[in-house]
């Protein structure tokens, strides 16, 4: 079975935020909740690099390990999802996650957070596929429609790749080979630990 992964090619990402907007518009994410974010380092200086980050859908995901109520689970294709009916909003996953992916609705004091929200790889959630409940709680289920996540589909420069790990790493390998350098696939070591 295919293993779904994200790969953001930092040599290509131009910090246009197209991916962020595609995600928010397409999934009706509330203002203040960022399933995906673009981070820039060395802004305005040589060495400026941007990377688009969301939940990486880790192998051995730390968020799953620490969740006290087992609200987070991993599908067979590697996609990590949260069940908002079970989540108690404790925020442990946020502290365990190396990428700062889990999000909580803003405006409430610590300890009284709503259910965790994060990138679903556009695979909806545990509610019935294509149901109104799934759309409202989790957003679109494009994976069930056979489509890639919105962010990668709309990336202006094809920096952000999403899909079967074998396929996207081949695309990236080809690029790295053409560039003749070992351009970094940001975050892969941490997220996938070589798996």
């Amino acid at each position: 079975m295919a293993r779904m992964k994200f790969l953001c090619d930092v040599e290509r990402c131009i910090d246009c935020n197209g991916c962020v907007i595609a995600c928010k518009e397409g999934n009706n994410v509330p203002v203040g909740v960022n399933r995906r974010r673009v981070i820039t380092i060395n802004e305005g200086r040589p060495g400026e690099r941007s990377v688009s980050i969301s939940c990486m859908h880790c192998s051995d995901a730390p968020c799953i390990a620490v969740c006290p109520v087992k609200a987070i689970y991993q599908r067979e294709d590697g996609i990590v999802l949260v069940n908002k009916d079970i989540c108690i909003g404790c925020g442990y996953c946020f502290m365990a996650c190396p990428f700062g992916a889990p999000q909580f609705p803003s405006g409430q004091v610590f300890g009284a957070r709503g259910a965790m929200d994060k990138c679903t790889f556009c695979a909806g959630g545990p509610a019935e596929t294509f149901s109104e409940k799934e759309r409202k709680l989790y957003g679109q289920n494009r994976i069930a429609e056979g489509k890639p996540p919105l962010c990668a589909a709309m990336c202006s420069t094809k920096a952000l790749l999403a899909g079967d790990a074998d396929v996207i790493s081949d695309i990236f390998r080809k690029r790295a080979f053409q560039r003749g350098s070992g351009a970094g696939a940001w975050g892969w070591d941490k997220a996938y630990g070589g798996k």
């Binding site: 040599e11 290509r12 131009i14 910090d15 246009c16 935020n17 197209g18 962020v20 907007i21 928010k24 518009e25 203002v31 203040g32 802004e43 305005g44 200086r45 040589p46 400026e48 690099r49 941007s50 202006s156 420069t157 094809k158 690029r175 053409q178 560039r179 003749g180």
Partner: protein, 715 residues
């Protein structure tokens, strides 16, 4: 754009000057990055700011605003004096070369360093890089044009490509990225005061041509003007229309302007907005047509503004022309929502009420197809005539059959044609012209020589006479004339290729393997311009008094598009004492133009909620300004803007940058309550253009918003 976005995939070098495509044209960047990765192409970015595009460059060159001509003439000088220029190309297809070289020779690396701030060694290095990586493409945007010498800048860029022999070649060309999907279309329709659609100008012949196309009586049109003189007189421009109201500079028109219709155009993109605001109250009538309530509807103190809600592009259909001269059909997604109407309907209603709908709708039965058809019929100058609505739709619907690299369809219903029939598309079977001035292909297959537009012979100011047609033996394959030839005329007596509506002339030319507009040389000398060869002139508001003395601006122009435009009388060497910083403006990727639409989107507003002024760390510390603090930016014209300081290395110590998309606040005062109820955008702020300066291009009168002066102080 002589080539296309996709064609950049073939470039061996990409030279981008005055463009921040990473923010203004993010999707185009995939082709630039492809050239970088696959061709190992150097990406040279020349800009006063270390932009998001600069972050993707292999070679970033920081330039002092307004000195592009000096730098590029310096590159040309290196290329010529080191014998790196394309001698065959220059011999066969270029005119005015010795005259140009003589002018360029002034721009030695040291002179260039003094003017531009670019180290002399960099001038030599970049020139060599360009000479050793051919073909390379040259890209520019508003950073190149919005200067008092903008027209010299763009000509210098073209000459650079001529001496390198990069014109008419895949991977080469001069490629100006346009902002919207239809900016090229708007340009081609000449929504301007000095030309009728299709670049026909406003001479009698042009009027008569379009009267024939519209089937309208020329005498009737003439009778609509105050007098014949005004029919052929260039009108006010977008940059200075408000002077026609305010008359702070003397106008050359029998009456001040009394009414304004602002249609799909952001008022806050005008420079010196406090003067625009003043004009709003003097106008008798202001009509604004826009899908979102724009900045302008909040500025007037009088009750003279009408806001007509028009639909967005998704709620209508029609043809458009993209930056790569490609036509596309835009299909409607949903009907116009709320009480909005599409542009066609608003225009039709307006014309009806003005009482001449019967005159202008003779050819238009089916909207929008017949509009496209009428445009095609009349716009022969740039070969719109072959791009009929049916063909455009066929291309758009079969886009997947076209090759991403060559743009040519491989099989399918459009086999062999180029995507979007890039103009000129000379006949109903012509495949489109993917690369302008490419003499390697027959004209019928998308090839083209340089146009014979400026006569066949010229005697220059130095007394030398030159034949302007291409050299012997230089023509497209299959051309009946093996060498240069003038434009086609009198095939149908009394007409030429661009006025013969039967299109017999164009067809005859294509049949003979020739271009309807002739086969000539590209010229380095423009004898009708004040600077026949591009030379550096200091910005009207310059930070370098010493260079004002050496490279002064032009003499004032008493009647430039109906208004007195100051150049020399405005250039004051002492101005920099009070206004020590150079102010430049530009894009944020999240917002577009005046921002009425994007600032009304909650997600985009979340990403970029504030206007800010980029200030270098050293400058900020010297002025006692901290990151995030409010500051006043003050312009020599008296405009002031209160914005947040963003302390960053993007700009150098002398430069302040502001994004120009904001509105809803004016000189410290909120105007949010002035929007119609529920229409105020989420993100509001001070428009940068309150503090942009006086200054206009000598030819086009485009506003010089990329090289003014300002002062900054903590608020």
């Amino acid at each position: 754009m002589t080539n296309s976005l996709n064609d950049i995939r073939h470039s061996k070098l990409v030279f981008m000057i005055g463009s921040n495509a990473a923010e203004a044209h993010p999707v185009a960047m995939q082709h630039v990055l492809y050239a970088k990765e696959v061709n190992n192409a150097p990406i040279i970015v020349v800009d006063p700011r270390f932009t998001k595009l600069a972050a993707k460059a292999t070679d970033y060159v920081r330039i002092r605003p307004g000195t592009d001509t000096a730098f590029v003439m310096g590159l040309i000088n290196q290329i010529v004096s080191n014998d790196w220029y394309d001698k065959d190309f220059v011999r066969a297809r270029v005119a005015g070369f010795p005259e140009m070289c003589k002018v360029a020779s002034h721009y030695t690396p040291d002179v260039v360093e003094d003017i531009t701030g670019i180290p002399a060694s960099e001038v030599v290095r970049i020139a060599k890089l360009m000479a050793t990586h051919r073909p390379g493409t040259v890209v520019w945007c508003m950073g190149g044009t919005q200067h008092s010498i903008g027209s010299s800048n763009t000509r210098a860029f073209c000459i650079l490509q001529l001496v390198l022999g990069n014109m008419g070649k895949s991977g080469g060309g001069t490629n100006i990225f346009r902002g919207h999907d239809n900016v090229q279309g708007a340009t081609d329709m000449c929504v301007l005061s000095h030309s009728l659609p299709g670049y026909y100008g406003i001479k009698d012949g042009s009027w008569k041509h379009w009267c024939r196309v519209w089937d309208v009586d020329y005498e009737w049109i003439k009778s609509r003007f105050h007098s014949k003189e005004y029919m052929n007189k260039k009108g006010f421009t977008l940059a200075r229309w408000y002077e026609g109201v305010n008359q702070d500079d003397k106008i050359n028109q029998y009456t001040p302007i009394k009414a304004l219709i602002q249609w799909g155009c952001a008022g806050n993109s005008n420079s010196m907005l406090h003067r625009v605001k003043k004009a709003m109250d003097k106008l008798e009538l202001v009509v604004i047509v826009d899908p979102f309530a724009p900045a302008m509807c909040t500025w007037g103190e009088k009750d003279n503004v009408y806001l007509l809600p028009c639909s967005s592009q998704y709620e209508t259909s029609g043809s458009l022309t993209s930056t790569s001269r490609q036509f596309q059909w835009r299909f409607k997604v949903v009907d116009p929502i709320y009480e909005s109407k599409d542009d066609y309907e608003i225009m039709a209603e307006l014309v009806k009420r003005l009482g001449f709908a019967d005159k202008f709708y003779k050819n238009i039965k089916k909207v929008p197809e017949d509009i496209t058809r009428e445009i095609c019929k009349g716009t022969l100058t740039i070969g719109y005539n072959g791009a009929l609505p049916e063909r455009i739709k066929k291309h758009t619907l079969n886009w997947h059959t076209f090759d991403i690299d060559t743009l040519q369809a491989k099989g399918g219903p459009c086999d062999g044609e180029y995507y979007g029939l890039p103009w000129p598309c000379w006949t109903e079977t012509h495949p489109g012209t993917p690369i302008l001035y490419d003499i390697s292909k027959p004209v019928a297959k998308g090839g083209l020589p340089f146009r014979a537009r400026f006569g066949t012979k010229i005697t220059y100011y130095d007394g030398r006479t030159e034949d302007l047609l291409a050299a012997k033996g230089v023509a497209n394959p299959g051309s009946q004339v093996k060498g240069g030839y003038p434009e086609f005329k009198d095939i149908v007596p009394g007409t030429n290729w661009k006025t013969d509506l039967s299109q017999k002339t164009i067809k005859e030319a294509i049949k003979r393997g020739m271009a309807p507009f002739g086969n000539a040389r590209a010229r380095c000398v423009v004898w009708t311009f004040p600077d026949q060869v591009p030379v550096h002139r200091e910005p009207v508001h310059s930070p370098r008094p010493d260079l004002i003395a050496k490279y002064p601006t032009y003499n004032d122009k008493p009647d430039q598009y109906r208004v007195y435009t100051r150049f020399k009388s405005e250039q004051n060497p002492d101005l920099v004492k009070k206004f020590p910083f150079v102010i430049i403006t530009g894009r944020m990727v999240e917002h577009m133009g005046g921002g009425a639409e994007t600032r009304s989107n909650k997600y985009l507003s979340e990403l970029q909620p504030h206007v800010y002024a980029e200030i270098n760390e050293r400058t900020a510390n010297n002025l006692g300004i901290r990151n995030g603090q409010m500051v006043w930016i003050e312009s020599p014209e008296g405009g002031r803007a209160k914005v947040m300081a963003k302390v960053t290395d993007r700009v150098d110590e002398h430069t302040i940058f502001l994004p120009y998309h904001f509105a809803g606040q004016f000189e410290g005062k909120s105007l949010v309550d002035r929007y119609p109820e529920g229409m105020a955008p989420y993100a509001v702020g001070e428009p940068a253009n309150i503090v942009t300066n006086y200054g206009y291009d000598i030819i086009t009168q485009i506003q010089a918003t990329k090289d003014g002066l300002c002062n900054v102080k903590p608020a």
